[in-house]
Symmetry: C2
Subunit: 211 residues, 2 copies
DNA sequence: GTCTATAGGTGGATAGAC
DNA sequence: GTCTATCCACCTATAGAC
């Protein structure tokens, strides 16, 4: 059993940069040359670790999805209430946006038609995992009397995922994180109040700086 | 004053196809060669009408934005109520999605970081126009007692634009228009009911088949 | 207004030395 | 595991004939 010598493995650094490039420029908006020059390695070295761009893309989603899932599991094990879970969930998105990025899978959803098949199914799987987790949280909150909404939790969960992804997409164009924050706050307010009573100043803390 | 001879001008056909390619594959997901081969012309001919890809992109947004604005003006002049305006607005989006496309400017928002400057400002302008129009409709509906929401209309308008864009983005990945329709219906229901009472089957008619 | 031809560059990807 | 060198397909864009 051998621990990696380098603090950050080369392949990981490649993935880190590739991830940022996809999240900012899209899957068709960067090249192996971009990564190679930034990391001071050759394209050939990149191809050693990631034979094809399709494979690189697949690995990116895999890693991103796993990290996301871990964060959601950690939230479940934290024992906090449903509303706080939703706040933390929103904060993950906000952290991504603060780094001037779009959600990896939200970005890939835009590029969807041009993606190789393995990446396509990984993208939709990401959304489904998120929707299922949110649906469970919503149900938990409804049972606890903490959240109020009509209809199936999964349907509300889908509204949340779509709205947050869209809010990131648009807010990033304006380079205004506040655009995202206001929308996210309003979505949560509408769920936590018995009737639609969302006015005044809302703010959310900052516990999950991510990505 | 001379009417174009051809039923559809060549430049228009080029724009039509380029628009579809951007809406399905993104601005970095197609080439002049794609358009040329599909229309049976040469790349050089394309460059005659649209010297650079940046100029082609700018013209695409211009045309799309103008068509959208015309549709909104027509709605204003139709004299229908605020809720029906919102329904028609949603139906424009639904029509785009049914053609297996993403909103042009929603797609370009994903490609934003890679766009030439003139395209960037045209994209954000599109969103602002939509938000302003929606804010006016929301205010109209609130005054008429037809819509119920708290806070500034512009804030709710931004929620609507972002949520609809996100719903298109995600629904297109699943190739499920119904995902979009459920979310859009729920958004409108939440605005039209005094309290959040959205259950059961909702449906919306189909008056604006669009691009 | 459309064509042929091509420039000049970059894309993803591979062979083979070290 | 990283390099040099290279392939070939494709990219945006232009020159100049018709």
């Amino acid at each position: 059993m051998r621990v990696q010598t380098a603090r950050t493995d080369t392949a990981d650094r490649m993935l880190d940069l590739a991830e940022r490039l996809v999240q900012t420029r899209g899957f068709n908006g960067f090249s192996y040359a971009d990564i190679a020059s930034a990391l001071d390695v050759t394209k050939a070295s990149l191809h050693y670790h990631f034979p094809t761009k399709a494979e690189l893309g697949r690995r990116l989603i895999e890693r991103y999805s796993d990290a996301f899932t871990s964060a959601l599991v950690a939230l479940d094990e934290s024992g906090v209430g449903a509303l706080d879970k939703l706040r933390a969930y929103v904060e993950i998105y906000a952290g991504v946006l603060r780094n001037e990025r779009m959600c990896l899978c939200g970005m890939l959803a835009a590029d969807y038609a041009t993606l190789p098949e393995p990446m396509k199914s990984a993208v939709t799987h990401f959304f489904e995992v998120n929707e299922r987790w949110l649906a469970a949280v919503l149900e938990q909150g409804r049972v606890a009397g903490e959240l109020h909404f009509a209809g199936p939790p999964l349907e509300v969960a889908r509204l949340l995922v779509s709205s947050l992804e869209g809010a990131m997409l648009v807010a990033r164009s304006f380079n205004e994180v506040s655009r995202f924050q206001w929308i996210a706050d309003r979505l949560l307010t509408d769920l936590s109040a018995a009737e639609s009573v969302s006015t005044g100043a809302r703010s959310i803390e900052n516990p999950y700086p991510v990505g």
